[in-house]
Amino acid sequence: MRRALPALLGCALAVMGSRRLVAQDSQFGVRGLGAPGTFASVRAWSTGGAFAAFDGMSSLTDAALSSVTRLTAAATSVDDYRRVNDGTNQSSLRSSRFPMLQVAGPVFGNLVVGGGFSTYLYRSYRIEVPGTIVIRGLPENYVDTFGSDGAVTDLRLAAAWSFSPRLVVGGGFHILTGSSKLTANRVFSDSSAYLNAAQTEEESYDGLGVSLSVLATPAPNLRVSGFLRSDNRLRAEVSGFQSAKNDLPTTFGAGIQWTVTPEVKVAGALTHANWSVSSASGTAFNTTNWSVGGEFGRSSLPVRIGVRGGQMPFGPGPTAPTQLGVSAGTGFIFSQGRGILDFGIEHLRRTGGGLTENGWILMAGLTVRP
């Protein structure tokens, strides 16, 4: 197995290197700021996100870093296959992304420091809009294509301090950065009469955020977590000029995890974010999302299942779009525990404003503890 580790790392790098760091996550993010990320590792995502508040390799809470007992690095790779139905058109979409990389490890005493990046908002999409316009007295058919290829990325530096075996407090500093390649094209059917118009710009983002969390163990088999995160605003620049500035939400939530037996763990979490402070075009809604999941079996080959649901922050209708996901997954420990390979799958359904998204998300994660 020791000899297999380099091959495994090579495979992982090939996977990560072959894809762009962006993806289209949801049509519900086209009109607003984007589709929020999950901040969950593959392990936590496979449980519907319910374990994210207790997973050191998820970036949802900082206090969870306390579960990292030695230097650990984890990367996540995701592919999604979605079917979008707006009542008139139906299309199949595929995308790949590399939404998270985290590194953490104990520094001294009870302090664990970690950091990395995760996707804060997905801003990748490509929309085709056909139309007809009368130019020079004649109708001309055209197809407009609007695209965005990029994301807002959350760079996090966090620390967790264990005051006692029963109480951990964590805090983090977040830099929101990233960029999107924006395109707008018009292609005329009669290309001999009218040349195509194509415009490309680079849009960059910046913002700041802080997070606080607490992880308590009131009973030997019970852990509870509370977390709060506040981001100031998202500023967008195109060609060096500010094009938009939107307030970002304050997010808070709580989670509970019960270790029934060493081979049965269940958890649940609730998160709320006041996205309505955003002045983004379209309608922004406050969101409340929940998740319930469990991990069963030996740690070397567990079975994970989970359910999550709630709302999406941006949508056209009077109410927020809703989402419901059912997930499952497993993982393999190898190389005497120095490496973990996690796999997961989730079926996700999102509805709102007359549009329905159904899709499968395939996840792969690699955790290395050298």
Binding site: A7, D79, S243
Partner: protein
């Protein structure tokens, strides 16, 4: 649990295959599921041409690609050419490396003149070529009036091109003349005129140096363009002689005369330049159009179509049904009359301009004006305008020149910006800059 290396490789391969798929294009349901903003199209006619000027004297008749012959509609134009001397000795077996001894001619028996007709009206029946001997003193300053005498009393041969063309094989076995079609689309012909020894009249004293003139006639529409040396090849004149080959008389080509000078003389005067624009004619005239496209359009918008409108001052004269072709070429530097056009990118060291043709419409486009009609000339210059947007340092100017230059007796006259009602204008359709970034 142990996982074998092959298993890991297989997992990695599957993951890599999954990673290679991306299809993010979806039909938009606007405006609810589309990004804000819309692409707009603006269509407008701009009077952005100013300081337009005409200049004359670029291509003289003796440097034109065509030798124009006309005998209709009041035009009288006659090609003239001067042939150089030939040697008096030849190799009887020039292809043999062992034959190094030259032999003098015994007699000069005949000569053949080959002419190429590039352009003609196929409806011109009984098109006839008359060949005259001219004085060897002809040159660039020779006028039609100077040659009135020789064109009256020095006729050598007359060939009815139509008659010979319709003979079997296009060959007149009696005279030795022949006519062959070079290009059925353009009507280009190759005409061979045979001269006997008397008509050829080889004089040893000047080694066959000769000057000839051509006059054409037809039942109607007698306007023809002969290829010149600067075009696809000037007249080819071969002297045929008899030689002694070890006591046997054999016939050989004595020599092929070099074209020392070819031109044409006509009763059409030099184009006059006034407040309007002139293109073409002989000596040829060019017009320079200077554009001042608003920076908001040139730099920020995307031009999807640009049409240049030019209004003829008068209907162009010439063959009915024919057209006057002219090229609109970008200039690399605006130096007025001496503005050089953009060089040929495939031959940057040459002084020639980009030739009109497919794929180079970013530098040069062709336009045409119908003879006898004063319709507005609409020319698509979209790629040229886009070229100005791509290279904002490039002068926004177009040089209008006849195609081929010196290939039309009568110039095309166009209204200039000094005639507001009929000034050149630019019909431009563009997409203004799309405002991104308002998530």
């Amino acid at each position: 649990m142990r996982i074998g290396r092959p298993t890991l490789l297989a997992l990695g391969l599957v993951a890599a295959m999954m990673a290679c798929t991306e299809d993010a294009t979806a039909p938009g349901k606007c405006p609810t599921f589309c990004p804000g903003g819309q692409l707009r199209v603006v269509d407008t006619i701009l009077n952005v041409i100013s300081r337009d000027s005409s200049y004359v004297g670029y291509v003289q008749p003796d440097s034109a690609q065509e030798m124009l012959a006309a005998n209709a509609f009041g035009f009288d134009s006659r090609p003239i050419f001067l042939l150089g001397p030939v040697g008096t000795r030849v190799l009887l077996k020039p292809d043999s490396t062992g034959d190094t001894t030259t032999v003098p001619y015994l007699s000069v028996d005949s000569a053949t003149l080959v002419l190429q007709i590039d352009r003609r009206d196929t409806l011109a029946s009984n098109l006839t070529i008359s060949l005259y001997r001219l004085p060897k003193s002809i040159g660039p300053s020779t006028t039609l009036a100077d040659l009135a005498g020789p064109f009256t009393d020095s006729l050598l041969r007359t060939v009815n091109v139509d008659s010979v063309l319709h003979l079997a094989g296009g060959i007149d076995s009696t005279t030795g003349d022949s006519v062959a079609v070079l290009d059925s689309a353009t009507g280009a012909l190759k005409v061979k005129v045979s001269l006997d020894s008397l008509q050829a009249n080889f004089l040893a004293s000047d080694s066959g140096r000769r000057a000839y003139g051509i006059r054409i006639s037809a039942d109607s529409l007698a306007i023809v363009s002969f290829a010149s040396v600067r075009g696809s090849g000037g007249p080819t004149f071969r002297w045929w002689g008899t030689f002694d080959s070890l006591g046997t008389k054999v016939g050989r080509v004595l020599g092929i005369s070099v074209n020392l000078f070819n031109s044409f003389v006509s009763n059409v005067g030099t184009p006059t330049v006034d407040s309007n624009l002139v293109v073409g004619g002989v000596p040829s005239a060019r017009s320079l159009l200077r554009f001042s496209i608003p920076r908001g359009i040139r730099d920020s918008a995307q031009v999807i179509r640009a049409t240049l409108y030019l209004v003829p001052e008068t209907a162009p004269a010439g063959l009915p049904g024919d057209s006057i072709i002219f090229a609109l070429t970008r200039v690399s530097t605006d130096l007025g009359a001496k503005s050089p056009c953009v060089p040929d990118p495939f031959d940057p060291l040459s002084t020639s301009c980009v030739p009109p043709g497919p794929g180079d419409s970013a530098f040069v486009v062709e336009a045409s004006a119908h003879v006898g009609r004063a319709d507005t000339i609409a020319t698509d210059i979209t790629r040229i305008v886009r070229g100005w947007a791509a290279d904002t340092a490039a002068p926004q100017a177009l040089m209008l020149r006849g195609t081929p230059e010196g290939g039309n007796l009568v110039p095309l006259r166009l209204f200039s910006s000094r005639t507001p009602a009929f000034r050149p204008s630019l019909h431009i359709t563009y997409v203004p800059r799309f405002s991104f970034g308002s998530p």
